[in-house]
């Protein structure tokens, strides 16, 4: 469900009220209602792709059940993983693999290419596939009991708040909540959920979509703009992707809370990280946890030789890059993050022991490194990414005058949104017990903060952008 759409504003109160009309003692009926809603919302986009969602659900459910009491558990889990990954590979990576192979063959003088697929990628496929695979591996490693109730498991995979762009929830977190009798109405959770939805919406429409106006003007036409403009655009993109994705995650977690569920935390003020390693403890936490649990640790993690450990880190972030998209730009982006973490580990710079000034310097350096890597993430080809970087570091001043200046109104609205986001993150990071507004103890302050946030959303939000960046992954 796209949270910044009229559909959501109309449908969500309806779903919310209908859900709470069902008495808490009928837990299964509530789950069934949520499952039907999840599938209907998924089918809003492309009905036939619900079959893929169902297919991945059935395959992993069946494989997990088969793992119980079989001697050939390795074969079962391998078959389950391959079958579950098949739609993802076909829809997302087939064209990329096909093109890359044919290019490689053409270098050797061989010309062979299979016809490309012209199908849209099922929305959220990377998220629900990884969530289902995580469950399967948890059962395989005996961290999780195989779920026998298909309704519960199907709802775990398709739960509508998180199916589009995560968080990628662990079965051990969500399935017990689905199986337990939830309270009829948890007032504190609903309030907290609404608060998260409100702030998430602010991050998306006031911050992300506003700075996107600068990014979308400059970066696609970087060759006509100065290095300063390209650098500002890259910083704007760094802010955009955070506000967009963290805003979405907050709304997803908020929607889950209003229905009485706790979902995985996904962001923890990532741009205050003191190293790239620290950044990954704060950015897309559900994915980095998944990668750690199912790639890094099974490969040996850090309990092996130094060289092997560096290799494990590199492969983990290579997978992260590949997960984000079928393009060399994502692979380079993933490798850059992997290499940075290896270097930090070699130099013992994963944490900060330098006091306030040192910490400030490290935060700025980390921000710039991450910002640099985002250029590869944003641009459509490696050539374009290198073009932007070359333009930023072009010291000849030959393009110095081609600066893109947004209108005074746009600049002011951009500064307002980014300023508020920075202030909130700064206070949450360094003064977590002070200056709380949306969850202040005094009702007057709480209500005023919520009203002002909503007013700012209406007055400053950009409502013409539909989609979240991560929805395409």
């Amino acid at each position: 469900m796209v949270y910044n759409s009229i559909n959501f504003i109309v449908l969500f109160p309806l779903i919310f009220l209908l859900y709470y009309v069902i008495p808490a003692r009928y837990g299964k009926a509530r789950n069934l209602f949520l499952l039907v809603v999840s599938y209907l919302l998924y089918m809003q986009w492309e009905p036939v792709y619900a079959l893929i969602l169902m297919g991945v659900t059935v395959v992993t459910y069946w494989a997990a059940l088969r793992l119980d009491g079989t001697r050939r558990s390795r074969a079962v889990v391998t078959a389950g993983v391959i079958l579950a990954l098949l739609p993802l590979v076909v829809f997302k990576y087939f064209n990329f693999i096909n093109d890359s192979l044919s290019e490689a063959l053409s270098l050797a003088g061989l010309h062979f290419q299979l016809p490309g697929l012209n199908w849209a990628v099922p929305i959220g496929i990377s998220f629900f596939t990884f969530q289902a695979l995580g469950y399967l591996w948890d059962v395989y490693y005996k961290r999780q009991e195989a779920e026998r109730d298909f309704l519960t498991y199907a709802l775990f995979v398709s739960f509508f708040p998180s199916i589009l762009s995560g968080p990628i929830n662990k079965a051990s977190l969500v399935i017990p909540q689905l199986k337990s009798l939830r309270p009829q109405y948890d007032r504190a959770k609903v309030t907290e959920g609404l608060r998260l939805i409100l702030w998430g919406m602010f991050m998306k429409v006031v911050v992300a979509d506003r700075v996107a106006l600068y990014v979308d003007t400059v970066l696609p036409n970087y060759m006509y703009y100065s290095g300063i403009s390209c650098f500002v655009a890259s910083v704007c993109y760094t802010i955009q992707i955070y506000a967009d994705f963290a805003g979405y995650s907050l709304m997803a977690i908020g929607v889950g809370k209003t229905l009485g569920f706790e979902l995985t935390e996904n962001f923890r003020r990532p741009y205050f990280a003191v190293s790239v390693t620290d950044f990954w403890h704060r950015w897309h936490i559900s994915l980095s946890t998944w990668l750690k649990d199912y790639i890094y640790i099974p490969m040996g993690g850090s309990r092996c030789s130094r060289l092997r450990n560096y290799w494990n880190i590199f492969v983990t972030f290579l997978v992260s890059g590949v997960w984000h998209g079928a393009n060399w730009t994502f692979i380079v982006w993933g490798c850059m993050h992997g290499i940075c973490q290896i270097v930090e580990k070699m130099l013992n710079q994963q944490r900060c022991r330098y006091g306030l000034a040192g910490k400030t310097v490290k935060v700025i350096i980390t921000f710039l490194v991450v910002n640099f890597a985002w250029i590869f993430f944003r641009m459509p080809t490696l050539g374009d990414a290198c073009g932007v970087i070359a333009r930023i570091f072009d010291l000849s001043l030959s393009h110095a005058h081609a600066v893109f200046m947004p209108t005074a109104t746009d600049s002011a609205l951009m500064a307002l949104g980014v300023g508020m986001l920075f202030a909130k993150d700064f206070l949450d990071e360094f003064f977590p017990c002070h200056c709380r507004l949306l969850d202040n103890r005094r009702a007057v302050v709480r209500w005023s903060a919520a009203v002002v946030t909503l007013v700012l959303i209406l007055l400053c939000g950009v409502f013409s952008a539909d989609q979240f960046i991560y929805a395409k992954f």
Binding site: N221, Y224, H401, V455, L459, C460
Partner: protein, 318 residues
């Protein structure tokens, strides 16, 4: 649960009341704006009375000097061009204007991307019309663009979305004076870096934009439309305006195409970038245009003096 739901409802009630109040304040402030884009938009929609109006995008606002047109043709003129906008906004504005009076001539500067072809999200063209959503016929424009817009427009505050700072500053400290009758010349010389021809690889017609142009023509009872394609530094692929040519031929409307005029193509003296004339180029172009317009305007003056004759001539154009 009931008590909590009541509290949530109370919260939204406060927001609704605030929304209504803020909407009223900004509506009043819009009417009071003393300059800038707010006052200009208000003037175009509610106060114009000129004989000739110029419509179009940034190319209209920077290319047509109303003072030259007025001096040369003896008719009053105002430039209603708007940066980054095209047929959708211009139809809405013309619809609002035609509820008050019918200008004698509308000069419409065509830019294919904004007036004929699919491009950016059409919702972005509704911004300047939002404050006038309640006026007859404007809600239809919003519905054509996106049926969901009517829900957004239920919020009075949203009608001033992204413009409230501009409105406040235009009331308190107006930035621009409108001595040039809406015209905004760009001083300076050609910046070669900004000559980036817009390559439209597979142009697709936007049925909504074209239907807005058609509706504008259909609603122009006593207004004569002249479509103009002003000069481009790099010229323009003639195929891009083929649908407009057909439309003009069908409706008997004059189309003046300067896009590949050798006087302007690749003439660095007249341009600031690939698509915009500088002040010198704009004055020169306006003079050239006026020469071509004399004939039309002579007919208009004659029509105005002889209403019966006018009725005949318009029914012939049918």
């Amino acid at each position: 649960m009931k008590r909590h739901l009541f509290k949530i409802a109370a919260f939204f009630l406060i927001v609704v009341l605030l929304d209504l109040a803020t909407g009223m304040v900004f509506s009043r402030l819009t009417g009071c704006a003393r300059g800038g884009d707010t006052a200009r938009n208000e003037y175009i929609c509610n106060k114009t009375s000129e004989d000739i109006l110029v419509f179009g995008s940034s190319r209209a606002i920077h290319h047509y000097n109303p003072l030259i047109i007025a001096d040369s043709l003896g008719l009053t003129c105002y430039n209603c061009g708007q940066d980054g906008n095209g047929a959708i906004l211009n139809y809405g504005r013309y619809h609002l204007i035609s509820q008050r009076y019918h200008p004698k001539v509308v000069i419409y500067d065509v830019m294919p991307l904004y007036d004929l072809l699919t491009g950016e999200d059409n919702r972005k063209f509704l911004g300047w019309l939002r404050p006038y959503y309640d006026r007859p016929g404007i809600d239809s424009v919003f519905a054509w663009v996106d049926p969901m817009e009517k829900y957004k427009m239920m919020s009075r505050m949203y009608r001033y979305n992204s413009r409230f700072l501009q409105i406040l500053s235009d009331c308190v400290r107006p930035a621009q004076e409108d001595a040039l009758k809406g015209f905004q010349p760009i001083e300076g010389t050609l910046d070669t870096l900004k000559i980036n021809p817009e390559v439209i690889e597979s142009p697709q017609l936007d049925s909504l934009k074209i239907s807005c142009l058609k509706r504008m023509i259909d609603e122009a009872d006593a207004t004569r439309f002249v479509f103009v394609v002003s000069p481009y530094w790099y010229g323009m692929d003639d195929r891009l305006i083929a649908p407009l040519r057909d439309l003009c031929r069908q409706r008997g409307i004059l189309l003046l195409d300067f896009s590949n005029d050798p006087k302007y193509v690749h003439n660095d003296d007249y341009f600031i970038d690939g698509v915009h004339l500088n002040a010198r180029g704009a004055d020169e172009f306006t003079r050239d245009l006026v020469k071509r317009l004399r004939q039309v305007c002579a007919e208009v003056v004659q029509d105005a003096m002889s209403p019966r004759l006018a009725a005949i001539s318009f029914s012939k154009r049918g």
